[in-house]
Amino acid sequence: MGDNLILKVMAKALIPVIILFALYVQFHGDYSPGGGFQAGVIFSSAVLLYALVFGLDAAAKVLPDKALIATASLGVLIYAGTGVASMFLGGEYLNYSVLGKTAQSGQHLGIIVIELGVGLTVAATMLLIFFTFARRTRAQ
């Protein structure tokens, strides 16, 4: 097995908990401190733990570069797209009140959707940065 056994067992126990916490912070950001940025960074730290313990190649097989670039761009697209959707429904750009039946429910829905976009972009970008730096180390 090797001397990595403790690290591997602990990482397997911790990574799902960290990802669950990231999802909690993302979606509970309306009622407690949290939101998209924090959740994205916590999610990227879970994948970073996986890459440190199991190797960069294993992490890159789960999340190849193309998928990360696509996810990062998708996050910004969701954010800007919500604004455009508000324009189609009659309001101004990024006016969420027109997205629901009442102004308040529209605002709440708009906030949840854009925080999701923010979380996706931040997580994907942080992972891209780490993987790029790490590959530069290995290639020397």
């Binding site: 009622y31 940025f37 790029t132 730096f133 530069r136």
Partner: protein
């Protein structure tokens, strides 16, 4: 005395900012410069957040039983500032990596000498 107690927070934060600025300006090592820049940035963010504090208030999350809330507006602006700061820092470190590969050093005076020789 009240004036000193009320303002010493700002004075210490300005001292922090100036230490960061001095690190950034006087140390020739590029990585130290980035650390100094980060210290400076966190000092500025501390100054703005301490502007938003209200004595007897609580965190700006509406909850039962609390009437006084701290000001949410500086916190929102500083959230953006922190994230943009780390994006700048990341790009700075990438540039340092490329500089090291091209010149072989990350000390500013050696870089100047190499550039002027060419």
């Amino acid at each position: 005395m009240d004036y000193i107690l009320g303002h010493i927070n700002y004075w210490i934060i300005i001292l922090l900012m100036m230490i960061g600025l001095y690190t950034m300006m006087s140390k020739p090592n590029l990585i130290k410069k980035m650390a100094g820049l980060s210290v400076f940035q966190t000092g500025v963010i501390l100054l703005y957040i301490s502007l938003g504090k209200v004595t007897g208030g609580t965190a700006p999350i509406v909850a039962e039983g609390f009437t006084e809330y701290s000001n949410p507006l500086p916190q929102v602006l500083m959230l953006t500032a922190i994230v943009v700061g780390v994006a700048t820092t990341a790009l700075g470190f990438a540039l340092i990596v490329r500089i090291q590969e091209a010149y072989g050093t990350v000390e500013e005076d050696e870089l100047e000498k190499m550039d002027s020789e060419v």
